[in-house]
Symmetry: none
Subunit: 439 residues, 2 copies
């Protein structure tokens, strides 16, 4: 790898482009400017596009009629580095140790998007042009929900007309194993508040004569276990080829879950292993609960109210609005006596599933094999990437998720890191995928 | 009422003497010092006695052989003021509005114990002596279980030798109706912590493959509804005379509960009315619950752990240790899979039942009639005053519970208040009961 690639990488990582915290707003802007100048330097037409939030960097080569058009998406913003005291070296002073670069954003997403930029740079240097019409869209709000990307895509829908989107912001199943993620779970959220007395009561003075909202909430939440009516009706069963392919992956999902989470035992829907539960089965999770006295010691109080935050992970062909409706019906129907219920809808994002054996899926598999010299693992992921659904709904294209994050990359955590071999692999991958998609 | 009584009252209320939270430890000490100085100022011999926890204020007059000896007990500590935002005025800045004083501790117990102190003050000023040998014992740990009072009573058992104890820390059945409480519920507490993964997890990355500790906790708490095995075995049925007397009280318990609490409907054990449920039937209450993300919006997290605080109100002849053991057995037996459980015992206090028609019971009824010009209501209470059982077991005396708290006093809740007419009534009551007990 050329030495100045490492200089580029370190320069990119030194910007504390933390999107969630306004005190870093000028660093975010400077980082966008740096990315845009880098793209201009390699021969692309590039600009920094203002939004209602942080700007989007948008670059393109000279387009030729009749060529395929590809959008490569990434983000230059990063998660906050806290807790700082757990970093072995400062989060915005990158260091190279035994082949790994340590810094906030090393994997998520600066290392990955930079490898695409450097791949384009090498092709431009060698061929003076790219085999496809290319858009690079690199946003600054991925870590805070990409609130302004949809507007950008809608406003520039014609200019961004394309055949496929390429994103490197997901994981490799294991070091050295190139990975194509062809499915994601969706998510839908709601918050419930159970109210009994109009204020907190002394549990001696009134206990026994009024319903306790916390008890009622616990009883209500316990009924979710008995399955919300209709919840599974639209769930698409796993394909046989998927279950077989997943069993052959170089990773034991059950062992991984036990090791990474430290849970006392495995848990989940009967008839499925951990990987199947995470990638292809829906969930109802309580993400938070609160009510009454949570401080030290005892307070003999009957709380006025108690609340819980729920999210449902959705899988094909579940519909977020329908699931919300079924959940609300279930909760209202199972509400214990003596209390009232308020339900507030939260954010939603649809699931994603594409065919890894489609023409572009096969192109992606060939590129991954070429870049890493090994057959690609075909997986789904349990999380949600709302942007993928926006590419489908606004631009009308499928997305190839070819991530380079290793399982122990510590994205969002202290000591985030990225191996140089993945930066190099990412450069090869960019060159290969653009060639493959040009065919 | 003299104007400087109100100054005394407000000075007393301004101390944030919250015993459960160590950050208020110095305020608790300062409050004890203030009480002791007040007692010395009215002519008693007073000292602040250190304990392993918060100190006890102990004062006495000059004792004469042959006179009856009375212990008046109260407490200067208060409940935490949370939630602060629901107070109309700051909890430790007392205000007088339309005859009511609003502040944390206004009723529980500063207003009530101060009325006794001021009653003693008036008698000392008029007669230069009291009709009885008096001890005032005012502790600082009543709201956290009076853990060190037993040791104090045991160590000073000889010096505290007495004929009867008087406590104003219970309720009046209605404004203007003097009330003798001859029974109390006991209480026993425990805290449970349910743990799953070793740290908070991303609900997309692991959701479905690990047990959710909040869900498990809700399921576990929901089983309490099905009655802990053996919980009711020792419960003594209500006497017929009590049920009849309670039906004749100038209060409709069911209506009172609806009005005071604002609950959407009555709730509780079948076959009992609200008064019977509160005064003579046991409960299992969840006083607090917490886990995961409780802030604004959504955080798609699977919490590492979740906790709940439980208390059981006990009635004659239930045994606190036995109930704790039954509850722990139940919780361990019903723990859902995939999580671990830790249980921490909290404080305990036994129930109390005495005869309102004994000689001292009749003296109390006469004093109440004298102070309030009306026959006393004979009731039990739903709360717990563990100290009453200690007076019986350590000092060998019965306790007269002549409380001044009104049903809508909001003890333990925001906007706690106490009417000045009860401060005045308490002063008259103190003078009357000391005369009656001297007979």
């Amino acid at each position: 790898m050329r030495e100045n690639y490492l200089e580029d990488y370190f320069s990119f990582l030194r910007f504390p482009s933390v999107s969630t915290d306004n005190q870093f707003a000028s660093n975010v802007r400077e980082c966008a400017q740096w990315v845009s100048e880098k793209l201009a330097a390699i021969g692309l037409e590039s600009k920094v596009v203002p939004t209602a939030g942080h700007p989007i960097v948008w670059a393109r080569n000279e387009h030729r009629p009749g060529s395929r058009t590809v959008v490569i998406y990434g983000h230059y913003d990063v998660q906050p580095p806290d807790p700082l005291e757990l970093w072995d070296s400062p989060p915005f002073e990158p260091v190279l140790k035994e082949g790994y670069v340590f810094a906030r954003g090393a994997t998520d997403n600066k290392g990955q998007i930079l490898s695409h930029i450097l791949g384009v740079q090498e092709t431009m240097e060698q061929d003076h042009e790219l085999p496809v019409n290319l858009h690079l869209v690199i946003e600054g709000e991925e870590e805070i929900g990409s609130a302004n990307l949809g507007t950008f895509l809608s406003e520039n829908r014609e200019a961004l007309k394309c055949d496929v989107a390429v994103v490197s912001d997901t994981g490799m199943i294991a070091r050295g194993t190139p990975t194509l993620s062809y499915g994601l779970r969706g998510v839908t959220a709601l918050e419930i508040k159970v109210t009994g007395p109009k204020m907190d009561l002394h549990s001696g003075v009134f206990g026994g004569a009024v319903a306790n909202p916390i008890t009622a909430l616990a009883q209500l939440l316990a009924t979710l276990h008995d399955r919300v009516a209709g919840f599974y009706d639209r769930v698409k069963p796993l394909e046989n080829w998927e279950r077989e392919a997943w069993r052959k992956l170089p990773v034991d999902g059950d062992k991984l879950v036990l090791k990474e989470t430290g849970v006392p035992e495995l848990f989940g829907e009967a008839g499925y292993n951990s990987v199947e539960r995470i990638w292809a089965r829906p969930t109802a999770e309580i993400n938070g609960i609160g009510g009454g006295y949570q401080g030290k010691g005892t307070k003999t109080v009957i709380a006025s109210h108690a609340m819980a935050k729920l999210t449902f992970r959705l899988v094909p062909e579940q519909d977020g609005d329908e699931i919300l409706k079924l959940a609300k019906t279930h909760l209202r129907k199972n509400l214990p006596k003596g209390v009232t219920l308020e339900i507030t809808d939260g954010h939603s994002g649809p699931w994603y599933l594409t065919d890894p054996h489609s023409a572009i899926g096969e192109a992606a598999q060939r590129a991954l094999r070429e870049a890493f010299n090994r057959d690609a693992a075909l997986i789904r992921e349990g999380g949600s990437i709302p942007i993928v659904s926006q590419f489908r709904s606004i631009l009308g294209v499928e997305t190839l998720l070819m991530g380079l994050a290793l399982p122990d990359c510590r994205a969002h955590s202290p000591n985030e890191n990225f191996p140089l071999e993945n930066l190099e692999g990412g450069i090869r991958l960019n060159k290969a995928i653009l060639q493959e998609l040009a065919r």
